[in-house]
């Protein structure tokens, strides 16, 4: 079931929640809506679910206009941030609740199968109130799957869970729907129901971990719709790169002149990157640009001869044991950068040192509007 959105927009009381947007969701795919709080993720999900009607545009399902169809008519299932289950029904009855018009044996079999997938077989006779948050959300997901709907919507389903549980359930969701779960999806496609999954999150790591395609939303607009890794390596714009970067993207201004990018104004000194030797920079026309570089491409120790040394002062150091985040300010400028490296960073607060930027990983954006000009990644 391909779902096509044609200039779908949503306004509420003069406030624009979604600017008219076009989007095509392929059947049986995993689509992650990535955006900050208030970017329009929930608005879009509600429109997809048929809970709200868009103020403009239309929704086509397999070419048929379903804009005015209600949630009931649309074959959708939804999982929310809060753990929503029927409190007076057992886990078994909760999962079975969307299953109708089938023999008892068939229902029991399906419930068992889903409970197994979500590892809640042992809890089937308990009430939701007796379960932990993670278990309750598993029940809610199992119930949504039981419906066998064409469209499965998940609205930040892991956000209310403990960190470790979140990681665990995310792994399982990836196996259930994600790119790695392609075989499971293929099996269900053969059985006649390959659900299109739409998963909303604020966490870039979650989008990468789940795989599939990522829809980057910002202030009610779709900035990019592409495979997760492409969004990471070839963000369509500076804003899309910012939404998809955690830790935040390092951004600085630069000017291309005489065969090099001059960064002196933003990074201090006479910092410049020669265009030659970097395939993705070689053909940059002269002019002003905004440059993005991920924190993990800035290092405390040089790695290649092409590295660009920048004098900085350490403002803050965060060490998790496995990795370190060093917040620095380029000498004599206001530019703040974050350096993300594995292991323990051996530096002191307020220490003046040299960090090394990897120009091979520079993302180049237009000065106005921030559209991507060049990325180190070739793209598809």
């Amino acid at each position: 079931m391909a779902l096509v959105l044609e200039s779908v927009g949503k306004k509420l009381g003069g406030e624009v929640h979604l600017h008219p947007l076009d989007l095509t969701l392929q059947p049986g795919t995993m689509n992650v809506l990535l955006g900050h709080t208030g970017a329009g993720k929930t608005s879009l999900l509600r429109v997809l679910a048929g809970l709200d009607r868009p103020t403009s545009g239309k929704l086509l399902r397999d070419g048929k206009d379903v804009t005015r169809a209600t949630a009931r008519e649309r074959s959708v299932a939804m999982v929310y941030q809060q753990f929503i289950n029927y409190p007076s029904l057992t886990v078994r009855a909760n999962i079975a609740s969307p299953l109708r018009k089938r023999s008892a044996a068939e229902i029991a079999g399906r419930v068992r199968e889903l409970a197994q997938q979500l590892r809640i077989e042992e809890l089937l006779d308990r009430l939701p109130g007796q379960l932990s948050g993670g278990q309750q959300q598993r029940v809610a997901i199992a119930r949504a799957l039981a419906k066998g709907a064409d469209l499965l919507l998940l609205d930040e389903p892991l956000v209310n869970l403990d960190y470790k549980l979140r990681e665990e359930l995310r792994d399982e969701l990836r196996l259930l729907f994600g790119a790695a779960g392609a075989s499971a999806q293929a099996a269900s496609r053969a059985a006649g129901h390959a659900a299109t999954v739409v998963y909303a999150t604020t966490d870039p790591a979650e989008a990468l971990s789940l795989g599939g395609t990522t829809v980057v939303l910002h202030q009610g607009r779709v900035l990019q719709h592409a495979p997760a890794l492409q969004v990471y390596h070839r963000p369509a714009s500076l804003e899309a790169a910012r939404v998809g970067s955690d830790p935040p993207l390092n951004v600085f201004a630069g000017r291309v002149r005489d065969g090099a990018i001059e960064l002196g104004e933003s990074l201090g000194g006479a910092a410049r990157v020669p265009l030659a030797g970097h395939p993705h920079l070689a053909r940059l026309p002269e002019g002003e640009y905004q440059l993005g570089l991920r924190a993990s491409d800035c290092r405390l120790r040089p790695q290649a001869a092409s590295d660009l040394p920048v004098r900085v002062q350490v403002e803050l150091r965060e060490i998790t044991g496995s990795e370190s985040f060093v917040y620095v300010r380029a000498a004599d400028t206001a530019s703040q950068l974050i350096v993300h490296q594995d292991g323990i960073a051996d530096c002191q607060l307020d220490e003046a040192l040299t960090i090394h930027l990897d120009p091979r990983r520079l993302l180049v954006f237009a000065k106005d509007g921030g559209a991507l000009v060049s990325s180190y990644h070739e793209g598809p």
Binding site: H36, T37, S132, G133, D162, Y163, K164, L165, E167, R174, A180, T202, D203, P204, A205, L208, S209, G211, L229, Y232, H233, R242, V243, D246, P247, P248, R294, S296, R301, P302, A305, P309, L316, E318, I319, T320, G321, S322, F325, Y327, I338, H340, D342, I344, D346, C347, Q348, L349, E351, L353, T354
Partner: protein, 408 residues
């Protein structure tokens, strides 16, 4: 600002409610088992653990909202166990932002001072100072309800900072409702404030990244007990308990059943039929071990599992079952080849750098190596042997390293 000490503190909600001893059939459940902790004046500390581990109970005892069933709470050597929150001079920032909706930002900041009857001149000065430090200046006359979630959380923090006599600031999962990209800003703000004001900070969370990045020292808790207390580095490199090993790190530590064997007058760890070398540090620690149980668990971080290049026979075979590409790094999950082990195949996760073309594909068998010096050995969950922490570079060296690095 104060040094905080807990002596023999425990807590049971049942006993606190006064359930009569006769009516009770089972011994009472303790949310917090007896523990001793000491927090230095001016340090930044974190309490880390899953929901229900007792960390919030501990926080309640510190803030004076709960009275411990046993033990004493000392602030700078003074027994404050019986004192109320108000008398203790602690500030607290809650999971969701608690602000006084009907007041302006200015009134919110002034509130704790007005309640203590300070002069309006002094209050105005303090409010201005704190607002400047938190960059709330432009919002001072806004109504608190009009702020965004993260601004409200900063305001809640400001109400704690505004008091000069505050002994400690307690944080109860303060970033829960904050967007990931704002967390970076807010965490940085917290750190800056800490550098500026040097309060004793105690931060409770279930999120390892928040705990490890925030604190100089982290206390890991599970089921009402302290499992380990240490710097982020210690928790990462020398987890005292397998639980700490799996709880910290994403993904957590690989744990594999192993046996110790002696060959060539040296101790080797036998995992799934493969004999693995151990680092000198690990061997030295093993030599000092008192117990003699040969049944151990070997713990190795995914970060310390590396691919062996080429088709050589070095390392152990790993059949790759899944690869997750996170952009910056890849997680390779695989089944360890070799002898069959009871309880199914041994699963090993490796965290490899991303970017370059993947060196492994699903279905392929690769050879991996465990960093011999980063192996930890556990007996019934408790650490028995691990290499000592690498010595931190002396500050003078770190400063000088800059010059040395210039020639790679």
């Amino acid at each position: 600002m104060a040094e905080l000490v807990l002596q023999g503190v425990s807590h049971s909600y049942e006993l606190a409610r006064g359930a009569s001893a006769v009516a009770r059939k089972k011994p009472p459940a303790f949310a917090l088992r007896e523990l001793d902790l000491r927090w230095r004046d001016g340090g930044a500390y974190a309490l880390l653990g899953p929901s229900g581990c007792g960390k919030s109970t501990l926080l309640g005892i510190l803030s004076g909202l709960l009275r411990p069933t046993s033990g004493q709470v000392l602030f700078d050597g003074k027994d404050v166990t019986e004192l109320s929150s108000r008398e203790r001079n602690v500030a607290q920032v809650f999971q969701f932002p608690v602000v006084y909706d009907t007041m302006t930002v200015r009134d919110n900041l002034a509130f704790p001072l007005r309640n203590r009857g300070l002069s309006s001149q002094h209050i105005a000065q303090r409010v201005r100072d704190v607002a400047d430090a938190l960059e709330l200046g432009p919002a001072l006359d806004k109504r608190a309800t009009r702020l965004t979630a993260d601004e409200k959380q900063i305001l809640a923090l400001g109400r704690g900072l505004v008091r000069e006599d505050v002994a400690a600031i307690l944080f109860d999962e303060p970033l829960t409702v904050i967007d990931p990209h704002r967390k970076w800003m807010l965490r940085r703000k917290l750190k800056e404030i800490h550098r500026q004001f040097r309060h004793t900070l105690i931060y409770v969370t279930h999120d390892q990244t928040e705990a490890l990045t925030f604190a100089d020292e982290v206390v890991v808790m599970s089921t009402g007990a302290v499992l380990q207390r240490g710097t982020p580095e210690e928790l990462f490199l020398r987890p005292a308990h397998t639980y700490v090993g799996t709880f910290i790190g994403s993904p957590g530590m690989n744990l594999l059943p192993c046996q110790l064997v002696t060959r060539d007058a040296q101790v080797w760890a036998k995992v799934g039929g493969h004999e693995l070398g151990l680092g000198d540090g690990v061997r030295a620690a093993l030599a000092q071990r008192a117990g003699e149980s040969p049944r151990l668990e070997l713990g190795i971080r995914p970060e310390h599992v590396t691919l062996e290049p080429g088709d050589g026979a070095a390392g152990v075979p790993l059949e790759v079952t899944a690869i997750e590409d996170h952009g910056r790094f890849r997680i390779v999950v695989g089944k360890l080849g070799g002898e069959a082990v009871e309880g199914g195949p041994l699963v090993v996760k490796a965290r490899l750098p991303g970017g370059e073309p993947a060196a492994a594909a699903v279905g392929q068998t690769v050879r991996v190596r465990f960093a011999a010096d980063r192996v930890c050995l556990y007996e019934q969950g408790h650490l028995v042997a691990a290499a000592p922490l690498p010595a931190p570079p002396p500050p003078s060296l770190a400063a000088a390293s800059d010059a040395a690095e210039a020639s790679p």
